[in-house]
């Protein structure tokens, strides 16, 4: 959004006034007459497909006759200034006939509900069953806990709202400078909408001012592209925060009803979950998020009888989609809360209860699919048990505050899962400037990908960072790599560099050998250039990369493509590589206000070798605070399909004053014997176990089970008062 180009004009998008209505007419004339307006476009101006969506293209670029949510686009304006564009969209006259609003997925599921899409209101249903009849299994249980949990419509809250510039090119094509997590997918989607061959579209999708999943889907790109092609000028659109809130994706609010039964020994015998996810008006990645939640409903526990059923339901609420944790956060909050409650019923330590039920090294995955053997569930749990947070002494209650501690555990799949195209590619070459150039189609979202590539490549090739050049996030310059999502990029670059290293080194050394007439066995790749390693003591530099690039007619270059490691068992969406995380939290509750302060968090993460220590730490710490926001403060509240928050003045995210000043991250790097899959991504795992660790700490402090997050301080206050009454009765 910082780019400017000569002749650049500004675009603005008109969003719907109603969450659900028929459009009876659109009159753009008054806007067109405003001085400085260059173009006003509607559905009539789309040459290709009037639809987008990562998997299902059910979201109109511009609505023609019906709006389904408050973020629906109806028209867009390009004008000489942003101010004129803002005025112009207010001049567009749209006549609506409001329709009944479905603002609750359970209402939307009823048979007599108005259908939001021709396929009905249930976007996706997913189930998982294992073992015998679940009712029979429950009847044999010693204790059964049943509860319903609610999670919020969390907003990604990237600091940079959606935006960018689309530049029309002389060949009739366009260059799209707009942040996203999958440049090639943007190109494909834009090609459909614009009816323009993909080759004429160049997408520069990196760098990004934050995304967390929220910019994987298209946002402003189609509008800026249509306006640029129509006017012939570069068009910049940078969404206002209020537009970003209306139109942008959110985390799926989920209602999870869980019933879990144990025997007297603490072995979980039966587990049932019913998940209802509010996916909003359009599909986006709703089905995959639900699949992920269903998959992770048993977490790292081996349970003989399981029955899970999930629904992703269309409503007139804001569109929900991909968000760091991908359905795992919601389901883990419910599951770990169940574990804590069962432990309480059994008068058993909750960590011991977990250990009794934990998956062992060679156990199958949560969908009973084959996964890479791992004992990390035990390793992280053992380690978190040693956390000083959990070894509190009894004297730490304050006069005006109550303190408590708690922990939670999680297991998180990496990659897109079985049956989903999950390939990647990379290219390693010596470029004309004499740099070792590595190219991937990934994007730098701030996750530290560039640093990770630099570290891996210099390590693998034994060269220096001055020798290399990293090219990412530009469809004109890089091979297809798939998306920078699902904690997949780190593993993919590791795999890519490993695959490219040998054949490319061979090409380099062969070329040098031929050029200088030195036997290839004596040559090796090193800092600054190729070295003669015949005499081990004083190896010498025989040619620099720059000289080599000048002298060679054909520069050594290797392109590879490969797939994210996938389970051999045909379980759609099932993962093969998992990472594990445990968190311990200490909270301080104000007796007078019910306000909760998280004072300490410890993380233990097992995700294979650490590639980039600073990046790793940043992902876990940052993810942890995002998890804290999810638990304590964040919810994009909707009433009758209308967002009640328009900006950061009412949608609160953690500030520097809200964070635990003591945060420790322990990384467990060991992998099981024979595990050759290297580093797993850590982009998501740090967010997942925080909410249940915090709610367990709250229970420890005041004996109140939180079932709905974000936690309402009034509920906490009420619970504290109830406690007092109860205590005085006992006396």
């Amino acid at each position: 959004t910082d780019y400017s180009f000569p002749g650049m004009i500004y675009g603005r998008i008109l969003r719907s006034k109603y969450p659900h209505a028929i459009i009876t007419s659109i009159n753009v004339k008054p806007a067109l007459q405003l001085e400085g307006v260059m173009a006003v476009i509607t559905y009539k101006d789309i040459p290709g497909l009037n639809g987008f969506g990562l998997i299902i293209q059910d979201q109109p670029v511009f609505c023609e006759d019906r709006v389904r949510y408050i973020g629906d686009a109806i028209a867009a304006v390009a004008a000489k200034t942003e101010e004129i564009a803002s005025t112009a969209i207010k001049l567009i006259e749209v006549a609506y006939e409001p329709l009944p609003i479905l603002d609750n997925p359970e209402d939307a599921m009823k048979d007599d509900s108005i259908h939001l899409h021709s396929s009905g209101n249930i976007l996706h249903r997913q189930t998982f069953d294992h073992g015998e009849s679940i009712e029979g299994a429950f009847s044999s249980c010693y204790e059964v806990v049943e509860e319903t949990y609610f999670t919020p419509r969390q907003m990604h809250s990237y600091m940079e709202t959606e935006g960018g510039v689309v530049v029309p090119e002389k060949d009739g094509g366009i260059t799209v400078y707009a942040a996203s997590q999958h440049g090639f997918k943007d190109r494909l989607q834009l090609s459909r909408i614009l009816d323009l061959p993909e080759e004429l579209i160049r997408v520069v999708s990196s760098p990004i001012g934050g995304s967390f999943g929220g910019k994987d889907e298209l946002n402003i790109q189609p509008y800026a592209a249509l306006l640029a092609l129509k006017t012939g000028f570069p068009v910049k659109i940078h969404q206002k925060r209020s537009d970003s809130i209306k139109a942008g994706l959110k985390r799926h609010p989920m209602k999870v009803t869980m019933k879990t039964g144990v025997n007297q020994e603490g072995e979980i015998v039966a587990h049932q979950a019913r998940i209802i996810a509010d996916t909003g008006a359009y599909a986006s990645l709703g089905p995959a998020v639900l699949d992920f939640a269903v998959e992770h409903a048993v977490g790292p526990y081996m349970i003989p009888n399981v029955n899970v059923e999930g629904f992703s339901v269309y409503t007139n609420n804001g569109v929900a989609g991909e968000f760091r944790g991908f359905g795992g956060n919601q389901i883990t909050f419910a599951l770990e809360s169940q574990i804590e409650r069962l432990a309480e019923r059994l008068k058993m330590d909750s960590i011991e209860l977990r250990k009794k039920n934990l998956r062992k090294e060679n156990d199958p995955g949560p969908l009973r699919q084959k996964i890479v053997p791992t004992n990390s569930a035990f390793t992280v749990l053992d380690k978190i048990q040693e956390s000083p947070i959990l070894k509190k002494d009894k004297s730490f209650q304050g006069k005006w505050t109550l303190r408590g501690t708690g922990c939670a555990l999680t297991m998180h799949g990496g990659g897109l899962g079985y049956g989903r195209p999950d390939s990647s590619g990379g290219r390693l070459s010596l470029n004309e400037k004499g740099k070792i150039e590595i190219a991937f189609g990934f994007e730098e979202v701030g996750q530290g990908l560039i640093a990770s590539i630099e570290i891996l490549l210099t390590e693998q090739l034994n060269c220096t960072k001055e020798d290399i050049q990293i090219t990412i996030g530009d469809t004109a310059l890089v091979p297809h790599s798939g998306s920078s999502t699902a904690s997949r990029a780190t593993n993919m670059i590791w795999q890519g560099i490993k695959e490219l290293k040998r054949p490319w080194s061979r090409l380099m050394l062969e070329a040098t050998s031929e050029l200088l007439n030195i036997p290839i066995e004596q040559l090796s790749i090193g800092p600054k250039g190729i070295w003669n390693s015949e005499q081990r003591v004083d190896a010498n530099l025989v040619i620099t990369y720059k000289e080599l690039a000048n002298q060679l007619e054909v520069l050594p270059s290797i392109t590879t493509s490969y797939h994210f490691p996938t389970t051999p068992d045909p379980v759609v969406g099932g993962h093969y590589l998992y990472s594990f995380g445990a968190a311990a939290a200490e909270v301080e509750i104000d007796r007078l206000t019910g306000k909760i302060k998280v004072v300490k968090i410890d993380h233990v993460i097992a995700a294979g070798p650490v590639v980039n220590p600073m990046g790793y730490l940043g992902q876990i710490e940052g993810g942890g605070v995002m998890g804290l926001g999810f638990a304590l403060m964040e919810d994009a509240v909707m009433e009758n399909g209308i967002y009640q928050n328009e900006n950061f003045d009412t949608y609160l995210i953690p500030t520097i004053k809200d964070i635990p000043l003591q945060t420790n991250v322990i990384a467990i790097e060991t992998l099981s014997k024979g595990d050759e899959y290297g580093p797993r991504g850590v982009g998501e795992i740090g967010t997942v176990a925080i909410a249940p660790a915090i709610t367990a700490a709250i229970y420890d402090a005041i004996g109140y089970w939180v079932t709905k997050i974000p936690i309402n301080p009034e509920d906490i206050l009420r619970a504290i008062q109830m406690n007092k009454i109860r205590h005085s009765h006992v006396k």
Partner: protein, 165 residues
């Protein structure tokens, strides 16, 4: 009705003549009195180091110094900066990085980097006013700057180092 009113309000008023120092250089502009400082910086001068995010003074991404004090450039209008001295993030790193920026890099206190200029300016403002702040004071000085990536922990480590120095 409401639509007409809003449009009337957003009609630009007559330009005024404005003199202002920005990063040590004197500028003269003819601008509507309500034109925002952040737009002067980003659009008129191309100083895109100053970011926009909430545009209501909540997030601190657009923080700059006015006469040595921290301000949100999204909330200041042209008429309010007459004869003022404005310093943006660009003024800090003309030859080499400011020590605050150095420490941010060393501690990995930025990921996407969008909030960073605002954070750095906020700390700069603090150190101008109070060269020896306590950790508490330094943390307070950043309470108006939102960051979504780092979770602030590395920024607290930056503070630890700045407070020590």
């Amino acid at each position: 009705m409401t639509t007409e009113k809003q449009i009337a309000l957003s009609q630009p008023s007559e330009p005024v003549s404005l003199e202002v120092m920005i990063n040590g250089e004197k500028y003269r502009f003819e601008l509507p009195p309500t034109y925002r400082l952040v737009d002067i910086l980003r659009k008129t001068l191309g100083l895109t180091g100053t970011k926009i995010s909430c545009e209501v003074g909540r997030c601190g991404s657009c923080s700059v110094l006015m006469n040595g004090k921290l301000v949100n450039s999204c909330l200041l209008m042209a008429y309010q900066i007459q004869n003022a001295e404005i310093e943006t993030i660009e003024s800090l790193s003309k030859d080499k990085l400011d020590p605050i920026q150095e420490v941010f890099l060393q501690e990995g206190a930025l990921q996407c980097g969008y909030c960073t200029p605002g954070m750095v300016m906020a700390l700069k403002a603090l150190l101008i006013e109070n060269p020896n702040p306590t950790k508490e004071e330094a943390i307070d000085s950043l309470s108006g700057n939102l960051c979504r990536c780092t979770g602030y922990s590395p920024i607290v480590r930056v503070i630890d180092r700045l407070v020590k120095v």
